[in-house]
């Protein structure tokens, strides 16, 4: 996170080159907080401000798609963690004066982001053994 015009702003930087990579969907929703990246950097997740709410947001850099995770009105998102393979998301919320962690399954929403050389298990009929 870096300060831009006094507001915490998500910055994605490639290592080790230091090249800053532009994100499509985070602009205008500062302050950002709690950045999280999948294995190859395909998915970038963070909390953003939308109106009065803090909303978990995931940008798919491969397709340009944006995924929001709306939370019930009685919960405020505080922090998130995206699993490196992008199969799950954990969100810390404040609810009734207490912190809770809630986990979400992203399998129906995102393609997994696996490290290079890791095969996806399974397959349909006729798949090689």
């Amino acid at each position: 996170m870096v300060e831009r015009s006094g507001r915490a702003t998500l910055l994605l930087q490639e290592q080790p080159s230091g090249t800053v990579i532009r994100l499509r969907h985070f602009q205008g929703h500062q302050p950002h907080s709690s950045p999280s990246l999948s294995w190859t950097g395909r998915y970038v997740a963070a909390l953003v401000q939308q109106g009065a709410q803090r909303v978990p947001l995931i940008e798919d850099r491969a397709t340009g798609a944006l995924h929001r995770l709306p939370l019930p009105a009685d919960r405020t998102a505080v922090r998130l963690s995206l699993a490196p393979d992008a199969r799950r998301l954990a969100v810390q919320v404040a609810q009734a004066g207490q912190w809770r962690v809630q986990a979400f399954d992203l399998a129906g929403l995102l393609e997994p982001d696996l490290p290079g050389g890791v095969a996806i298990q399974g397959g349909g009929p006729g798949a090689p053994p």
């Binding site: 995770l69 699993a83 799950r88 207490q98 929403l109």
Partner: protein, 158 residues
């Protein structure tokens, strides 16, 4: 029968409009709820590390998401330490922890397979606040306070 067909059509239309949504993992969330207040989640592979507290005392927990059970972490939690930030690698072996102990804030690396705890020095000196381990456990990003400024250090792990 007519009512059933209408309900099915309506359901199909609604799901088509709303698209796929992240699904809460019900049994796991109930398990987490039973642990008390929880914060600072870190997901990697089949593991979820977090800071969990009951009765005012917080400790690091590691949950196996496939078994949906917390695992023992011998030698990591201390009654006189306050955990601040935690992160786990994809193998569930390395856990990086920022904690306050005896008035100091320190970064330590725990190896579950060895039950060992190794302090990681900040160079140049600074006060760590948050940590995030890379999934392969080879590197971590540490948010550090130095001279009133927040900085992020990338630390290689041997």
């Amino acid at each position: 029968m007519k009512r059933l067909v209408c309900a099915t059509l309506l359901g199909g239309l609604l799901s088509g409009c709303m698209g796929s949504m992240p699904l809460p993992i019900g049994p796991l969330n109930r398990q987490l709820e039973s642990l008390g207040a929880n914060r600072d989640p870190s997901l990697s592979g089949r593991w979820l590390a977090l800071i969990s507290g009951k009765g005012g005392r917080e400790q690091v927990m590691l949950v196996d998401l496939e078994l949906q059970q917390p695992l023992p972490l011998p030698g990591l939690n201390r009654a006189d330490a306050q955990p601040l930030s935690v992160s786990v690698d994809g193998a569930g072996d390395r856990i990086a922890l920022v904690r306050q102990l005896e008035g100091r804030t320190e970064l330590v690396l725990y190896r579950r397979s060895l039950q060992s705890l190794q302090p990681i020095a900040m160079v140049p000196s600074g006060v760590p606040r948050q940590v995030q381990l890379q999934a392969d456990g080879r590197q971590m990003a540490v948010q550090v306070s130095r001279g009133g400024l927040w900085q992020v250090d990338l630390v290689q792990i041997p």
